[in-house]
């Protein structure tokens, strides 16, 4: 009993410490600001006073940034600022939902694999190995081609391709925690497997999964951009930064601004998530003083 109270207290102290460390970390705050900025404008897209992102205009084809079009226009006269903002929705959704898929499929498998061990563990581990042995982007391309080019399918493809990382990660954490005294104690008093996994093991898995998830969002956003760049992600006329880059590369000499903005946006969002993820890792790492 006393063991559990002590560990619960330790957990609370860890959370306080982590929160304080995170707030003090300036890079992480900067990352948070970047991410929050894009999330806010993406969510606010429908109410912002911007043009229709699919409104074409034959007279305003590939115009440089000006007062009328702050970021210029694209190859069929659509306002780039508007497409950038709506594209943020696509890219952010792609990043977050892919990772959610990866987490909600991967973590349970990892839990089961690490907890039960034996043949279950061997089977799941071999499948994970097999998935990891296939290059991530190839897997995503093949899956996206199989499902058909669309943003939803790209998200599924990326999510499934990122899943093995979470299986591995969770399994590793479970193995580390499984032998702790309080877990053994819980088994001794007859708690069910599900109860043990959810009450004692899952909380320990939470921190590293959160860190990895944040960092994987960054990878997923780049993966969506890559897939769209190859023609497999968000399909026109709906905007997405990756597909905007795919078109922009054909107009690099005539309209270079078409490539600057989406590229810069992807860079900033991904940087934000990376900084945030880094900050989370530093904050939640019990080893660093």
């Amino acid at each position: 009993m006393s063991d559990m109270t002590a560990s619960a207290e330790a957990e609370i102290r860890l959370e306080n410490r982590a929160w304080k460390k995170l707030k003090a970390n300036r890079s992480a705050l900067f990352g948070f600001v970047l991410v929050a900025f894009f999330i806010v404008i993406a969510t606010a897209a429908p109410i912002l006073p911007i043009d229709d992102p699919t409104a074409t205009s034959w007279s305003a084809v590939r115009k440089a940034p000006s007062a009328a079009h702050w970021l210029g226009t694209d190859e069929i006269g659509r306002d780039i600022l508007s497409r950038m903002i709506w594209g943020a929705r696509a890219s952010l959704m792609a990043g977050v939902i892919s990772v959610l898929i990866a987490v909600f499929v991967g973590v349970p498998f990892g839990l089961v694999s690490g907890y039960f061990g034996g043949w279950t563990d061997q089977a799941i581990s071999r499948v994970t190995d097999a998935l990891l042995a296939t290059p991530f982007l190839i897997l995503a391309i093949a899956l996206a081609a199989f499902l058909g080019p669309s943003l939803t399918n790209a998200m599924i493809a990326i999510g499934l391709s990122a899943m093995p990382i979470f299986i591995r990660l969770t399994r590793g954490q479970v193995l580390a925690v499984k032998t702790e005294d309080y877990v053994e104690g819980a088994r001794a008093i007859g708690l069910s497997h599900v109860a043990i996994m959810s009450r004692y093991i899952l909380p320990n898995v939470f921190a590293p999964v959160l860190v990895q998830a944040t960092l994987t969002v960054a990878t997923a956003i780049i993966a969506e951009a890559s897939l769209s760049f190859l023609g497999l992600g968000q399909q026109p006329p709906a905007p997405s930064w990756g597909s905007m880059l795919n078109v922009a590369k054909n107009f690099m000499t005539q309209a270079p601004w078409m490539a600057w903005w989406p590229g810069a946006a992807i860079f900033l969002v991904v940087l934000g998530f990376n900084l945030l993820g880094d900050g989370l890792r530093d904050a939640l790492d019990p080893r660093e003083s």
Binding site: W58, I76, G77, G231, Q235, P236, P237, Q254
Partner: protein
Amino acid sequence: MRNKLLVALLLGVTALTTPALADDLRIGLQEDPDVLDPDQSRTFVGRIVYASLCDKLVDITPELEIIPQLATGWSWSDDGMVLTMDLREGVTFHDGTPFDAEAVKANIERSKTLPESRRKSEVKSIESVEVSGPLQVKFNLTAPDATLVAQFADRSGMMMSPTAAAEAGADFGANLVCSGPFKFVERVQQDRIVLEKFADYWNADAINFDKVTFLPIPDTTVRLANLRSGDIDMLERLAATDAASVKDDADLQYAEAVSLGYQGITVNLNNGERGDNPFGNDPKIREAFSLSLDRDAINQVVFEGAFAPGNQPFPPTSPWYDKDYPVPARDVDKAKALLKEAGYDSLDVEVQVANNPVQTQMMQVVQSMAGEAGFNVKLKSMEFASLLKDQSAGNYTASQVGWSGRVDPDGNIHQFMTCKGGINDSKVCLPKVDKLLDEARQSTDIATRKAKYDAARDILIKELPIIYLYHPTWIWALSGKMEGFTPYPDGMIRLENVKFK
């Protein structure tokens, strides 16, 4: 000491003289060709390589007239069942085998019988080849076929060395032996194809390069960058949007020719269950759709005016174009009226399109224009492989697809518009049209054929199984130091009389 000096001198002399000797031409291609065997080949870009590698029985002029190449003359029998061809003297293949009537016979038989041959449908009308003299062949046909001579201006007329072909079988693509101005040296997949001058070419005086290297560079911007930096000397299929900057560049030259092909929207009239839809059932609706489009604006916005708007399988500049039906101007009011007449204020139409930037851009413009007349166009982006399958199986309403075009007008219509046509994905079937197109194939008289195609057009222009949009233009960009290049509507790069200044 003296030896060292001698060696240095020798090196210096070689260094100075070597560049002057080698006239190497480097050409940037849009794609990597597939198998380099004219009988097996199926890509447009492969033909560009063949233009330097393999001679054909006949060739074309930029005005699409058929002229001699390996055949010096030909004539039809009165009933149109026998084509007699006289062959050029003194021609040898790259491996030394002499070119003669036996070689022609062997080539045609290979095209007909090699299991991997994709030329079978082109030479279907040839029943047998008779060697009537050392340099004369007679083609005995199953039925009169006016398109045959034009077929010989393309891959089926390309003559390969029979000895080498027999030895290599289906693997001929690894080391092609023809009789063209250059012979095959090496090929590295997706990297380069290298040819070198064939000294015994019958027209060797017209050839001014020692070596030709083809480099597939899929990205149009990168390809142009290579031309500007001098890493290649010319490129094919310049992006229309780069045309202006090439024309303005004093160091580069620009050449264009309207192609033989077209791009359009194929509509599912009768191909399976999905053929039963308003768009596919009512020609008036299709006419409304066609009228809602401003083809000139599409050309201007997407292709900077470089391409040719179209409404028939042949471009308006072609001798086969039916002048009774010029390219319609946009008429949104009439389009709306026709749609209403058909019983709709607005109509949803799903159009498949290949997921490459140019076609998608073009279709987005179409989508926007048709939207103003009440058509809610939904674009279904697909990979080419899936698009082809769905179209063939009838699993579509409308599909944006094109055709690379053939020299003979029959090649642009027959397979698409006849009931049993091999590429008739809309499954249009009008017996009158069938009859006219079959008859047009059989007569060698141009006036007769034109009359028949025009008569068929009278019917088809109302039926609109394919809504033609435009005809691409082949655009080449060349370095300023080249001269003598002539653009051809078939998109081929003919190197006769081309040279560095």
